[in-house]
Amino acid sequence: MEVRSIEFKQRASERAIDGSLQGKLKTAKGLFVGGRARAVARFDAEGGDFEALRDVGRGIRDEVLDNLDVWLETFERNATARGATVLWARDGAEISRLVVEIAQRHGVKKAIKSKSMLSEEAGLNEALEAVGVASIETDLGEYIIQLAKEPPSHIIAPAIHKNKEEVADLFEQHHHKPRKTEIAEMTREAREVLRSHFVSADMGITGGNFLVAETGSVALVTNEGNGRMVTTMPKVHVAVVGVEKVIPTLNDLAALLRLLPRSATGQTISNYVSLLTGVKSEADRDGAEHLYYILVDNGRVGLVGSEFQEMLRCIRCGACMNHCPVYQTIGGHAYGWVYPGPMGSVLTPLYTGLDKAPDLPHAATLCNQCGVVCPVKIPLPELLRKLREKQVQTGVGTATAKAERRALKLWGFAARNPRLYAFGARIATRYLKWLAGGKDRIQVLTMVPEWTKGRDFPAPEGKTFRELYAQRAARRR
């Protein structure tokens, strides 16, 4: 997928004043944030310890990352022993090439997909369509945005930015059936359309929530059942999974499954968890006959052992964006690539280059809501701060950052010359008081009008701290 994060400021400004978008985000936020809080409280009330569970989750992910090469070999060995083919891809182009070749090898005309953010990184649908293979998204949200030709705006609720009227328009236009107005009717219509694809497709493409090294399996978590359909109905199943998604054992899967749905939607468990291992036996009456894993780098390997390694713990629950005041104001599309919110603001610059996403490390208030809810305790604000540092060190700054640096230099010079500092401060305080015109707030700062576009600046009383201090000292004497 094309990286459009360079347009962040423009896109964010447009959306920050889009009341309709914020209405939709607010509804979702209420459900996700409230749902998570209730689920966590219930877990603790039953005698569980969610905080300790987060530590266990973090520990599992760290243990894997510290020995990632060996865990990948272990997974590969066990998956191969069960009849799967394990392939490796360094980047998005290699993913697409492999999937296209698999499609050609098996004479595939139609592929059905369960939600995979990694395939969005690669632009896989476009690559398949270019060689004449229809590629149909089957998660309802992904299906809606595929019809609208838009990217997802949330990693677990991809069509969060569409209301039912917009969905009704899309269905009317593409399904050629009478327009439905009720959400249940619309869902039924999509079910029927997609069912016809489920029974006629030759290939199923999925991501993977986890790869279990001990058994060579992939675990898929869905509520709709499309993950089951995609891995059961077609004769070929391709799972495209990042190399960081390995976990050691089935018991680790059980522990992580206590964290993921609670953090994502507030569910105790998702409706379906499928653990797929190997291929259909001769006696089996259903299931995929061919299973391919594509293990993907695409920027992940470079983070192992780096100061950003903690980001690779991510289990893609979406809690960070659900709790982020910036995401809640501008929505997912403003971020300009596959991953929005705090995790996206860290991942996009790391995977695509800081120069392509210079504003994203600043798209945060560092309020640490994301860090508090992250199920695997990724210190997101700290990672954003590190990215900002890196930006300064390498000089890949935004115009604002450069101006800030100049201003700080000037301040530093003045601060080293007390007389000059006192003089400058006196002028500035009086000027700001005059600018406020008797009020206690300044609505437009003439030297940085952008800054006061969405907020006021408090007006000073008219005297500097040093002046007041000197006065008070004189009075005491």
């Binding site: 070749e101 079910r191 709709e224 050691p248």
Partner: protein
């Protein structure tokens, strides 16, 4: 990188693994240490993370039932296998869901026709409206069914039909997913997971349009559980 070119395939693999080794330690002693760490981890018993839950049958049954109902399944309890066909027939009649369906072949021997039901032992197809399955385990913690795919229990039976009826013998109740995996290690062929292990917690659902919950996305609209106390 190419599927058909082994050299290119090996090159992508080696490049990823060797870059990891460059960071994690490429000398043979370091690699050996990591292999030992991985082997030790695979054999390690991990501390439990579930809340303390009852593991006696009555306690598990109560928990399983209430969790399953929270996930929008309906539940009925019977005393033994003999009552099962009639209980299923009564549910179908009450909901007006007909008398025909498909059944996991491992359950075909029950006297279904005596209860007035016409069920075919096979995998499910698109047009089938009712699917009846058993379960390998029933997990009390979350009210979840665990189904193992096998010739006698095809995965499609619990997926394609609009109604899924599952028979849950009390002896199949376990407190947690960990306990279910342990039982799979003891009882499944080779101690390994089959092609598909499906954990099912209620009917399929979506909230993708305006976050409004709708039951019956791609899988069943309704899941009905028959808990068999004496089996």
């Amino acid at each position: 990188m190419s599927l058909t070119d082994p050299t290119a395939r090996a090159a992508a693999r080696d490049s990823i693994l060797s870059r990891l080794r460059d960071t994690l330690g490429a000398d043979s002693a370091a690699v050996a240490r990591r292999r030992e760490a991985v082997d030790a981890r695979l054999g390690k018993v991990v501390a439990p993370t579930a809340p303390p839950l009852a593991d006696d049958t009555a306690g598990m049954l109560a928990r399983f039932r209430s969790e399953a109902e929270q996930m929008a399944s309906t539940v009925v309890e019977v005393d033994g296998w003999g009552e099962v066909p009639a209980a299923v027939a009564a549910y179908l009649a009450e909901k007006g869901l007909g008398t025909r369906g498909v059944i996991a072949p491992e359950l075909a021997a029950l006297p279904w026709s005596t209860a007035g039901l016409a069920v075919e032992p096979r995998e499910a197809r698109d047009a089938d409206l009712l699917g009846i399955t058993g379960c390998f385990c029933a997990i009390a913690e979350t009210g979840t069914l665990m189904l193992l795919s096998a010739p006698g229990s095809p995965a499609t039976v619990s997926l394609l039909p609009e109604t899924h009826v599952a028979l849950v013998p009390a002896s199949r109740l376990v407190p947690t997913m960990e306990a279910a995996f342990a039982r799979m290690g003891e009882q499944a062929p080779g101690g390994q997971p089959p092609r598909a292990v499906n954990f099912i917690s209620g009917p399929s659902r979506t909230g993708d349009i305006e976050q409004t919950l709708v039951l019956g996305a791609h899988g069943p609209y309704r899941v009905h559980l028959v808990l068999i106390r004496g089996a």
